[in-house]
């Protein structure tokens, strides 16, 4: 466990060693606010809640999370520091977990810094803070899911740009899995059961159901399994590709 903590600390600190942390957080906060006010009609709706704020999180994450995850392993492979890391007395698992948790925590920090939205809405009216808390949890879980995908794809390449693009595509497909667009395209090709199964994999549906304020065990389980699955894949990919 102390190894996971050591890798976590190093990785977390490395975000702040470069302008990356600052740039990411500022852009995230500006966009999150801008989307909520302009597109979400935060004021015009005349309702004291954060629904228009959280509604755009999936789309924000779609581009911002891959920017966070792309360096996780691609950079280590490019610089050769992976050889250093993997010949220290740490297991593959400790490395995968430490790095993922650091990135997830960083995303959590960015998310937590949106607290002025919460203060605003409490100042303006009397929102259901339980729903808001649930939506924050849902948003954090979704960020974890995106990050786990990004970490795995980052391990598959030495190029951060390729890792970024693949992660955006993979996350987009998972977001849209249940949408009419994908369902219609696949409708003629696949049996209904498979389409339903694919639709149930959609990040969007699960996030939206938590964001409504209902923390259903199935949604938690969904995000937990997604993160677990992609982290296992991350470890496998890393083991195969680390020395290429």
């Amino acid at each position: 466990m102390h190894n996971v903590a050591a890798i976590f600390r190093r990785e977390f600190a490395s975000y702040f060693a470069t302008p990356l942390a600052f740039v990411f957080i500022v852009i995230f906060l500006i966009l999150a606010g801008a989307f909520a006010f302009y597109f979400g009609g935060f004021y015009e709706r005349g309702q004291a809640d954060l629904a228009p704020f959280f509604a755009y999180h999936p789309w924000l994450y779609l581009f911002l999370i891959p920017a966070l995850s792309m360096r996780l392993w691609a950079e280590e492979r490019k610089s050769g520091s992976i050889e250093l890391l993997m010949t220290l007395p740490v297991t593959l698992w400790q490395a995968v977990l430490g790095k993922f948790l650091a990135a997830w925590c960083f995303a959590g920090v960015a998310l937590a810094l949106t607290f002025p939205m919460w203060i605003t809405v409490n100042y303006l009216g009397d929102p259901d803070n339980g729903v808001i808390l649930a939506a924050y949890i849902g948003s954090f879980l979704m960020a974890g899911g995106f990050l786990a995908i990004g970490a795995c794809l980052s391990a598959a390449t030495r190029s951060q740009i390729i890792a970024f693009i693949f992660t955006v595509v993979a996350c987009f497909l998972l977001l849209m899995a249940g949408s009419p667009m994908i369902v219609q395209v696949l409708g003629g090709l696949l049996p209904q059961a498979i389409i339903d199964a694919l639709a149930s994999l959609s990040f969007l549906t699960h996030f939206q159901s938590i964001a409504k304020g209902v923390i259903d065990l199935r949604d938690l389980l969904y995000f937990g399994t997604t993160i677990g699955f992609w982290l296992i894949a991350n470890a496998i990919v890393l083991d195969m590709k680390k020395s290429d």
Binding site: H2, A6, R9, S81, E83, M86, S243
Partner: protein, 255 residues
Amino acid sequence: MIEISHLTKRYGDFTAVNDISFEVRPGEVLGFLGPNGAGKSTTMKMITGFLAPTSGTVRVCGHDVQAEPLAAKARLGYLPEGAPCYAEMTVRGFLEFIADVRGLRGERRRSRLDDVIGRLALEGVLEQVIETLSKGFKRRVGLAMALLDDPDVLILDEPTDGLDPNQKHQVRTLINAMARDKIIVISTHILEEVDAVCNRAIIIADGRILADDTPQALAARSPSGRLDEVFRSITQGARGTPPATDAALEAAAHA
């Protein structure tokens, strides 16, 4: 002790390391010699557990590197080729991280950090970001990392590559100072290095061991007593290059 037995690494059809076996005992400084692409780095990566061998085994201090990687890695200090580091960290931050991962605590942690920082003269750059350091300092940071836990076995992949003559001398002095009670394996293609620090040399080409002897005995194989001539005749002979190449080149130069 390092025990290597029938170690082989294949990439598809290409055999990088072909059935090599040898042992290294404490007090030995083994020079791993060979042309570029001979399989030196691949062998070192298998000794340190970074690469899994296609077949064969490596035991470090009695621990099979594949079966008990953590126990083996805890006894190993490894400087990979080019001394990769976390470039955005400070020297102190980097060494503290290595100390964390190696589980160094309390008094021993302090004394080990002081020891490597002093030994490699890093006091003046502790708060500097590694990226901004000169090549010589980066290499010293890498060596400090490898030495931090006072390992029984040191694997150094081209530790002096790209350093200036003074820096090379410093690294060699350092290796000589540690040679007595450790196992040190150094890969290099610089022959003078073998004379300067090693008490045993293995010449490898095309993934096979071609010679295994003391540097003096190896040098004595050539009428001129020069190691580079022995190296050339052994490694080029293995590749099927006619030994006359040099003579032909010389003749061409004269013409």
